[in-house]
Point group: none
Chain length 214, copies 4
């Protein structure tokens, strides 16, 4: 039977994954250039040469690693939200999925942003597979809300980059602050509440009278 074949393929897939996992860890922790093939191999529990059976070069391995990050569940942050009380729904959704934004994967991705940005091929992959779909999905949702009369009409290109950037940027700050970030000392519920309120209503104190001119 093709049992033998199947088994072989499975082992191959397993090896590939083994290597990918080890490589992602090391690349994220030490950067691309500072991670050596023997190191990756050791970390994957394999011999150096074995990696080359599955990935023809360090660069190809890196590309595979980056591509594996592109399926990051970031896109799921915006699943279709059509609850009735929109504010509540949003909070619920964010509460459920904020962790996605703070996932290990996203942190690893951020740590490799430099390498991605500097390499044309990687940048293209990153744009096509992650950034564009992410922004497109946001824009779609935003437009729907505007049509529903719930959101103010703004330039969508700006809006999605403001909100999307906010999510990425906040996560980046949290990630670089590490353990010490005050965000770690606040209950997630509160953070989500503040986020939602900020996104919906801004910083403005509604009753505030515009300051008088001189």
């Amino acid at each position: 039977m093709a049992d033998r074949e199947t088994r072989k393929k499975q082992i191959g897939d397993k090896r590939r994954q083994q290597i990918l996992d080890a490589a992602l860890d090391l690349f994220a922790k030490q950067g691309y250039a500072e991670s050596t093939m023997p190191e990756i191999a050791r970390s994957a529990g394999l011999a150096t040469g074995t990696i080359y059976i599955y990935y023809p070069s360090k660069r190809e391995l890196f590309i595979a690693v980056i591509e594996s990050l592109m399926v990051v569940p970031i896109l799921n942050v915006f699943k279709n939200e059509t609850g009735e009380n929109f504010q509540k729904t949003l909070k619920k959704a964010l509460n459920e999925r904020l962790s996605i934004l703070q996932s290990v994967l996203l942190t690893k991705l951020l740590s490799l942003i430099g390498e991605i940005q500097r390499d044309a091929e990687l940048r293209a992959i990153f744009m096509e597979k992650l950034i564009r779909p992410f922004l497109a999905r946001m824009e779609e949702l935003y437009r729907a809300r505007v049509e529903a009369g719930e959101f103010r009409p703004m330039e969508p290109a700006v809006t999605v980059r403001l909100v999307g950037g906010m999510m990425l940027g906040m996560n980046f700050l949290k990630s670089i602050e590490g353990e010490n970030s005050p965000l770690n000392r606040l209950p997630q519920g509160q953070i989500v509440d503040e986020m939602v309120n900020f996104v919906l209503f801004g910083l403005n104190q509604p009753g505030a009278k515009p300051r008088a001119g001189k």
Copy 2:
């Protein structure tokens, strides 16, 4: 006289700057590991050995480069704003200083974020010299506005990371999108308007009736 001394020192400073400039350029364009000392030297118009007169090692040079970025005028984004019509003042300020956020320096800094993040010493410098002052300055301004009754009281730690992250994140998106970013096709005035309105009032359409719960 100490004229000789002075002259010497000036030449030294000039050399140091020459090297720093060349190194920053290359590090930002190619990353730390991919930039070689001979390359940096050539780009600075010097011989390889000369660099070692001013910086004891490639790593020290990198640290100096990163430190040179820490004086980035980012902090000036929030100079004291106490105009009377607060919204107008903010717009004026942002219009003047948005370019700071889109400065070449910030782009270079972003491209080296990975290297900074992975190195404890650099991360500490980055936090102390840039992130913390930046967030502290924002927090101070925010608190003042809250006391003035202009801003809603929120948890300041969250607020500043939302707004600060938004600014960084939007800039990052713009930078990674490159030429193709739609933001490049909008007049800066409009972008600033949208930003300010978003920060002040959020996405919410004021008149919208909250959707009825089931």
Copy 3:
């Protein structure tokens, strides 16, 4: 019965030959070091490991390849020639057998001469199995002709190396010139005629009066 045994042996011989053929091809085309075992295996339609069942190492395989070349029909170039009109006989013989000298095998052998020369063991095999018998055979024939009064008596050691070297050297030149060799544009009959005439009578124009000494 030993039928099973016989069958096994036949398969073994076939495998051995398969491998030998593939290896000879590759070694000749790319050299020893540049030919890899997986490559040889693929070219033989076998798995890498299978080669090691029949040859214990790459080196042993190479030796076997070289030995297989030692049975090259070069020796037959000088089968017993005792026709009556000696010149005619020689031409006929050469016409029949010149192709031997231009055989693919000899070309392959020449391309591996370097490897053979540099390895003491291979050099010994080459000398014992090919060069010495070849020269010995020539010498024997030459001596017979001298005794028959047909050839001038010369130092046989020199004579055979002159004539043998001529045949090898001409073939080498033709082989390295490849397609472009003018020899390819002459009819073989003419070449043989010229060769025989040269070997028998040299370059000298019979009637030429020796130039007067000073």
Copy 4:
């Protein structure tokens, strides 16, 4: 003054030569693939990395080595010979220059013939710089002798390859026989005499009556 520059250049040339010498020795003794860069460096009294300052890769070094062999004084074997007693002149010339054919350089060249033959670029260099000029020079001399009525008219393309091949081939045989070659036990004068006589008059015993046909 440009003294400094000159000095530098001289050192560079010296290094280049040092490396070339060591590389030629090793390549000839062990072959291209079997000679390692550290080995070559050690043999040249330098560090491995130093070689790469002067030759960008092992292959380039090899090409330089082969090119250095192309100036081999082989071409001088046929300097213009126009003495009056042609036979004497030839003997004298060969006596003086036979050593050229047996030079170390030619031996080294022969040992690398395989590598040259298998590499298109090297083969082209070899043909252009050595084989073609060598054959052309011979042809020119041969034609002159024919016109002078001293040599029989034959097809020059064949003649030069016969005589040239003879010289190469005899040398090759001597080289592969090594110490044991009987040629080493004969006085060079005798060898030259035999060569010249063979080339001029062939093997034929002048008085021999052609054997009767059947």
